[in-house]
């Protein structure tokens, strides 16, 4: 238990902010869990990198933004380059397979996990913008001891347009089922 | 403009002697005085209200003869 920090990073339009909000909404459903969710607006209001953060804790959340993430998601090279060096020692990086992670800090070599998120979204779901739901699925598995999976599903259902619920849940499940367990510490200290 | 109505200097203390009423009186019975407007000949007043309506200082009032 304790403070847990998630940073979701990608390009504008990849839905990272929505994913952050959904995680936070799910957290709200957990009794006595505090949530702070924020996002960065880039220098310009349009385009560029996009970043969402979720912090949760049973205690009061003092500093509301991520200090050092427990869990970092990077969907683009740019976001990996920018944020990939900042992680708790026992933290987890989920990076899209398209990213060149060769420059990862040596101490994080074992914390990083590459998944073909964007590809799966495009091919399995047939829709690149469901990448964020796959990400949510991955995260849901990692944090399930803190935020029940159903809450996240419920939050998805509430937040996405009614017509797209099925597709989104499908993507979520896909993410959830992705095997992460080959390195068990991947769950970090959730 | 009933003949039974005539002008009254209702608030003499407010008059600033600007002469506007004098200039609009069709019967020429008003004049600017030493400090404030004066009525030359009340009898000639036809109660036309011209002066009352234009006076910027609410000095004048057309009233029934018996009020005067």
């Amino acid at each position: 238990m304790g403070r847990y920090e998630i940073r979701l990073s990608g390009a504008g339009g990849q839905g990272m902010i929505l994913a952050g909000i959904i995680l936070a909404e799910a957290g709200v459903m957990v009794d006595n869990l505090n949530i702070s969710q924020s996002q960065s607006y880039g220098p310009e209001s349009r385009g560029g990198a996009s970043r969402a953060e979720v912090v949760f804790d049973e205690d009061q959340i003092d500093f509301p933004k991520v200090i050092k993430p427990d869990l970092l998601v990077c969907l683009t090279q740019e976001s990996f380059d920018q944020y990939g060096a900042d992680l708790k020692s026992y933290g987890v990086i989920i990076a899209d397979s398209g990213i060149d992670i060769s420059e990862v800090k040596p101490e994080f070599k074992d914390n990083i996990y590459q998944l073909n998120i964007l590809d799966l979204a495009a091919k399995e779901i047939g829709n690149e913008i469901s990448a964020n739901m796959i990400v949510l699925g991955i995260i849901a598995r990692i944090i399930q001891t803190r935020i029940p999976v159903e809450f996240i599903k419920k939050a998805i259902i509430e937040k996405v347009p009614p017509k797209t619920v099925d597709l989104n849940i499908e993507a979520f499940e896909l993410g959830f089922d992705l095997k992460l367990d080959k390195r068990s510490y991947i769950y970090g200290r959730i | 403009m009933a003949r039974g109505e005539r002008i009254q200097i209702a608030h003499p203390g407010w008059c600033k002697n600007c002469g506007i009423c004098v200039s609009v009186c069709p019967t020429d019975i008003l004049i600017t005085g030493k400090k404030s407007v004066e009525i030359l000949d009340l009898e000639k007043c036809i109660g036309c209200h011209n002066c009352e309506l234009i006076c910027p200082d609410f000095v004048l009032k057309v009233v029934a003869n018996d009020e005067n």
Binding site: - | I20, L53, I54, P56
Partner: protein, 274 residues
């Protein structure tokens, strides 16, 4: 008329100079109000800063003497907060058309039910005779010692261009017409605007050697013409005279702003009920 009711007798005589037309405007206004059906207790008069702004101090209503140029914006808040109130704005040509020009055109655009009486003495009276957006080109002013190069607004056209639904112009030389215009403006449901030509024998008159109030009123009469007659003039002749009377009147109470807002309230609450 028992005008005392509408005046704060203990505040009179007012501070305006001898012969100042602003007093005549006030005089005409209270007579118009007396003839209207409005409740004195439900009427708010709001002014800005200037000699004209002092008008509210003498009127026995709820009165609000605001900051320079902002009377209409305050009035918009009052009216929207309580649409049952009858809200009147008294503003100067500087107050209403220089610093306050934006609020004037936006209130006209919204067609909110305010009655705006603009005291146009063609000068900044209170601050000592600087030119205003209504000072005619060529006139002298303390900030135009060599003659004013600014071109003045035609306020009726400006407010019409902004969407105002009732626009009139009167002048202090003809208080009977002024009263009628105020009464019509009060009755109009929507934004109404009455430009009221006023004489300032002190801040305007002295610099321009315009004579005393009486002479200025004579000039006013010469420079103006009844709107109906004006319409029959040639384009060239038209430029030489200010038309007086109701210049525009569009009767569409449904388009009034508080009415429109009320509809939104009803719509939202009906939807809620569904």
């Amino acid at each position: 008329m028992d005008f005392e009711k509408y005046l704060r007798m203990d505040k009179l005589p007012h501070i305006w100079c001898p012969g100042c037309g602003h007093g005549t405007i006030l005089n005409s206004f209270i007579r118009a109000f007396a003839e209207s059906d409005f409740d004195q207790d439900k009427t708010v008069v709001i002014s800005g800063i200037g000699c004209s702004g002092r008008a509210t101090g003498y009127l026995n209503f709820d009165t609000l003497h605001t900051t320079h140029g902002r009377a209409i914006a305050f009035a918009t808040g009052v009216k929207m907060a309580n649409p049952e109130l009858n809200v009147i704005v008294m503003t100067g040509d500087g107050d209403g058309s220089a610093i306050g020009g934006n609020h004037l055109i936006h209130a006209a655009r919204r067609n909110i039910d305010l009655t705006v009486i603009l005291f146009n003495n063609q000068i900044y009276g209170m601050t000592g005779g600087q030119f205003s957006p209504m000072t005619p080109t060529g006139d002298l002013a303390s900030t135009a010692p060599y003659g004013n190069i600014d071109q003045n607004f035609n306020l009726a056209e400006l407010v019409a261009g902004a969407g105002g639904t009732f626009i009139a112009r009167g002048a202090t030389f003809d208080p009977r017409q002024l009263k009628k215009l105020y009464l019509a403006a009060l009755k109009h449901k929507g934004f109404s605007f009455v430009e009221s030509l006023s004489q300032c024998p002190v801040s305007y008159g002295r610099q321009n050697k315009a004579g005393d109030a009486v002479e200025m009123l004579k000039k006013q009469e010469e420079d103006t013409i009844n709107f109906k007659k004006w319409q029959q003039l040639s384009t060239e002749e038209k430029k030489l005279k200010y038309p007086l009377g109701i210049l525009k009147e569009l009767d569409n109470p449904e388009s009034e702003y508080t009415v429109r807002y009320q509809k939104i309230i009803e719509q939202v609450n009906n939807e809620g009920a569904l």
